[in-house]
């Protein structure tokens, strides 16, 4: 079956066997968007985070058939290495990456936070990111990067 998605301000049609397939696989395998990543498939780590109508959502759990005409934004939808979004720029400036596998989730979750709270405190940033796991221990830089982004927005 064909499913129409609105991803990064473009209409895309994906052909799926099963509308219960999580959105993550449509983004990664059908649309070639590798920003969102598979980490747990359980909504526990946040590596797969995308924005759905501005809200941070775990795409590993969301059935592709239930997205409807909601606006999906992935990491690629924020910016590119030549035209980075302020959050991406801040992560580069703070060198807030080690292996980087979790960073998609950090940036997308932070985007949702900054859209509702332009000047969060360190504690507010930490609370907002509490459901996003990083194993390399890049946390202190990530908090600094989100803080820095608030000065650029």
């Amino acid at each position: 079956m064909k499913i129409t998605l609105n991803v990064n301000d473009k209409t895309s049609i994906v052909e799926v066997d099963d509308p219960q397939m999580p959105l993550l696989y449509a983004l990664r395998n059908d649309l070639g968007l590798h920003g969102p990543r598979f980490g747990c498939g359980l909504g526990q780590c946040g590596a797969c985070t995308v924005l759905i109508d501005g809200n941070a959502v775990r795409s590993c759990l969301l059935p592709v058939g239930s997205v409807g005409d909601a606006k999906v934004t992935t990491l690629e939808g924020l910016g590119s290495s030549t035209h980075p979004h302020p959050l991406q720029k801040a992560f580069i400036e703070e060198q807030a990456v080690q292996c980087g596998y979790c960073i998609n989730g950090m940036i997308m979750q932070a985007k949702a936070l900054l859209d509702t709270n332009q000047h969060p405190s360190d504690d507010e940033i930490k609370r907002a990111l509490a459901g996003n796991l990083c194993r390399c221990g890049t946390h202190v830089r990530i908090v600094r990067a989100v803080k820095r982004a608030t000065q650029m927005l």
Binding site: C99, Y101, N132, T138
Partner: protein, 734 residues
């Protein structure tokens, strides 16, 4: 000797075009080329490590890989400086067994210390040869020449000859010269600078290609279905339900190895759930709550004395005061955020495997053994994966993919699910350490004894491949890594004996996880040191300084004390408030021969709940010459935070049959609200050798926390992790 007079090699004619650059040179998987077979991977050849194209582009061939630690950038800096070429002309090819030398696995904090220095020496040799050749061409004495911006230039003249003109597209045909003069550190341009990591822009925009993103045309997706009990036999399976799933291709079974293959990833996931399996019963694991009794009762294959000074037994005999304590350290999983993944393809009986393995050359040998094919018929190509922090499941996913691809004919991608990673990656083994010390009438420590109980180590450092074990294919026994390291101590007690008891068995496939053994042993050593300092009423930093005959170590501890604003703290009364704070110190000279690290931990203990918060770490760090200060800080911060997690929270759960910590709920790790601040003092010694930094800081974290908790509430924590129940139990018996 440069090769200009020798016939060109075919493969290097096209050197500039071999590398598929996409948008980021050297960051995306490199297209394999038939010409690769002609490239030397010899460790003693400049061509093993370096090539320079006609356009001056420098390619570095590194057997050490970037596991998310910034090694790619650091190697780029080393080569750019040593060759005097602009940074952006250097790209790094990593861990491709066809083109990169076997520099050993990327472990043990050796990528710069060993791997980087081999590459630096190759570059120094290349630079000397380029100058020598330019001298001939320009008819100028070598000492009248310098190198700059990818060219040899005549001092005080305009004569200039670009490297690309001299060697471009040709090989050096030159042995690495151990005596080739390396650059004077005073002249470094980029070594020692915080060069921005080359991979980060692509990683924050979704442009980076991880192993998990790699695809081949016609590739099928597989999921493995693991035994219900770790060593159960597969009695039967029924895939009739799976066959109704659109996209399902087939089930692959060999012995106890079972996998489903499908055209899409989702179909493979659904099929793995739809498969009905019947496994034999197996309950050979120890009772989790009897783990330490089990370890102590395990047969000792042999005991190795790691350090002997004087005679501890004799010294202790008449001593008026004796202390003894037992420490234990839980089983840990690597906990990579991205579960392991690999792609494999067989063509004409030859296997190519794309993998995030930290050890592609070793994996190649393991796969050749597993499939009974000659080594030259296996190629392993590294692609950056999720951080692994040691030997996690990457190699096992590679073996899975290779086994399934052999059955399928075409390329196969295996992606482990979360439960595969938590349940089936090899584990950091349980570690038990006994300590004894003797103190004389004047309060001097006169004897120190330690005995660690750890899994035995077969000849080769490697971990058996799960797929080979399950499928009944050959694979060598698992080795836990050099986990006896760092039991020996740097202190000047007159009588010391450190012994490793090597055990005949351990519950799970043993493996190395960041700071393997060194973390466990340093936890015991540095906490027991604190016990001794308290016993003799000494300040713990002063106590260490008094027992170090090592100016570099003493300087580090003094700088740490200043950084942490350390106030002398001999034993004090435990705090009595609801939340009590304390601070503790720990020190390591890594493996007694390299990187020095000292930590001061500040903690808060909630006396009602038993919950510990590590609020701040001060770290003094001396790894000799620093290649990239910000990259080093990033590593130190990561070491601290990851190890706070391991120390306070992490504990693998299991029943008699299998691992029951199968996700992040049953094996939680530290999250943002509990992350400490990290303050760092880097001690740079540009004229010393660069030592490793990927592990040493982690070694001091558990003891620093334990000692801080004792400082706060007078409870001595000797069992990692320091969960609230242990804290409360300690307070009840204190």
């Amino acid at each position: 000797m440069l090769i200009s007079t020798l016939p060109r090699r075919e493969f290097l004619k096209a050197a500039g075009s071999l590398i598929v650059t996409f948008s980021f040179a050297g960051l995306l998987p490199r297209a394999a080329s038939a010409a690769d077979a002609a490239k030397t991977v010899a460790l003693d050849q400049v061509d093993g490590f370096l090539s320079i194209g006609a356009d001056g582009a420098v390619t570095v061939y590194s057997g050490k890989v970037d596991l998310g630690t910034g090694v790619r950038t650091a190697l780029t800096q080393i080569v750019a400086d040593e060759l005097d070429v602009p940074l952006d002309t250097v790209s790094v090819v990593q861990g491709d067994t066809s083109v990169t030398p076997d520099q050993g696995p990327t472990y043990g904090s050796l990528s710069i210390q060993i791997g980087g220095m081999q590459i630096r020496q190759a570059a120094a040799t290349a630079r000397a040869a380029l100058v020598s050749e330019a001298a001939k061409r320009l008819s100028v004495a070598e000492d009248q020449l310098a190198t700059r911006d990818g060219a040899v230039v005549a001092k005080g003249a305009v004569d200039r000859i670009a490297y690309g003109e001299i060697v471009g597209g040709k090989s050096f045909e030159l042995k690495v010269d151990a005596k080739a003069p390396a650059k004077d550190p005073a002249n470094y341009r980029v070594v020692g600078q915080s060069v921005a990591r080359l991979d980060i822009p692509a990683k924050v925009t979704g442009e980076f290609t991880y192993m998990q993103d790699f695809v081949l045309p016609g590739m099928l997706h597989a999921r493995v279905v693991r035994p219900a009990a770790m060593r159960a036999d597969l009695l039967s399976y029924d895939d009739s339900a799976a066959q109704h799933i659109t996209g399902f291709v087939r089930t692959v079974r060999q012995g106890n190895f079972l996998a489903v293959v499908a055209k899409t990833e989702w179909a493979a996931i659904k099929a793995s759930g739809a498969l009905k399996t019947e496994w034999s019963k197996w309950d050979g694991l120890p009772e989790e709550n009897q783990l330490w009794a089990y370890v102590r009762a395990t047969k000792i294959n042999h005991s190795d004395v790691l350090q002997t000074v004087g005679n501890t037994a004799e010294a202790a005999q008449a001593a008026p005061r004796k202390l003894s304590a037992t420490y234990d350290f839980a089983i840990h999983t690597h906990g990579s955020i991205g579960p392991s993944c690999a792609v494999a393809q067989w063509q004409d009986g030859k296997l190519t495997c794309w993998t995030a393995s930290q050890a592609t050359h070793l994996l190649r040998k393991q796969l050749a053994l597993m499939f009974g094919v000659p080594l030259e018929d296996v190629r392993c190509i590294y692609i950056d994966g999720s951080g692994c922090y040691g030997r996690n499941g990457h190699e096992d996913a590679a073996a899975d993919a290779a086994l399934i691809a052999k059955a399928m004919g075409g390329p196969v991608r295996v992606q482990w699910m979360r439960a595969d990673e938590h349940g089936w990656d090899p584990k950091g083994p349980p570690t038990l350490i006994d300590y004894r010390a003797a103190i004389d009438a004047s309060g001097n420590v006169i004897a120190w004894e330690s005995e660690v109980f750890i899994p035995d180590a077969p000849k080769t450092i490697q971990v058996a491949l799960v797929a080979a074990e399950l499928a009944g294919q050959p694979t060598d026994a698992s080795h836990p890594g050099n986990i006896q390291q760092a039991l020996a101590i740097p202190y000047t007690f007159p009588n010391i004996k450190a012994t490793a008891h090597r055990l005949a068995e351990t519950p799970f496939r043993p493996s190395w996880i960041r700071t393997p053994g060194r973390m466990q042993n340093t936890f015991g050593n540095e906490t027991f040191m604190d016990e001794l300092a308290r016993a003799v009423g000494a300040d713990p930093i002063d106590f260490r300084v008094r027992h170090l005959n090592d100016p570099r170590g003493v300087e580090l501890l003094q700088r740490l004390a200043t950084l942490a604003n350390w106030q002398p703290r001999p034993a004090r009364s435990p705090g009595t408030g609801a939340i009590v704070s304390g601070r503790g110190v720990a020190f390591v000279k890594y493996e007694l021969v390299r990187t020095y690290v000292g930590a001061v931990a500040d903690v808060e203990v909630d006396r009602k709940t038993g919950r510990i918060r590590a609020t701040r770490f001060a770290i003094a760090h001396d790894c000799g010459q620093i290649i990239n200060p910000d990259g080093l800080r990033n590593q130190i911060e990561g070491n601290v935070i990851q190890t706070v997690s391991r120390t306070l929270i992490e504990d693998l759960k299991f029943d008699r049959s299998t691992v029951t910590s199968l996700d992040w709920a049953s094996y939680p790790i530290l999250s943002f609200p509990d992350v400490p601040d990290v303050v760092i003092e880097l001690i740079d010694r540009p004229r010393e050798k660069p030592w490793g930094a990927g592990e040493p800081t982690a070694a001091v974290v558990p003891a620093a926390i334990s000692n801080a908790v004792f400082d706060a509430i007078g409870v001595r924590l000797r069992s990692v992790p320091f969960v609230p129940e242990k804290v409360l139990a300690g307070m009840n018996t204190a």
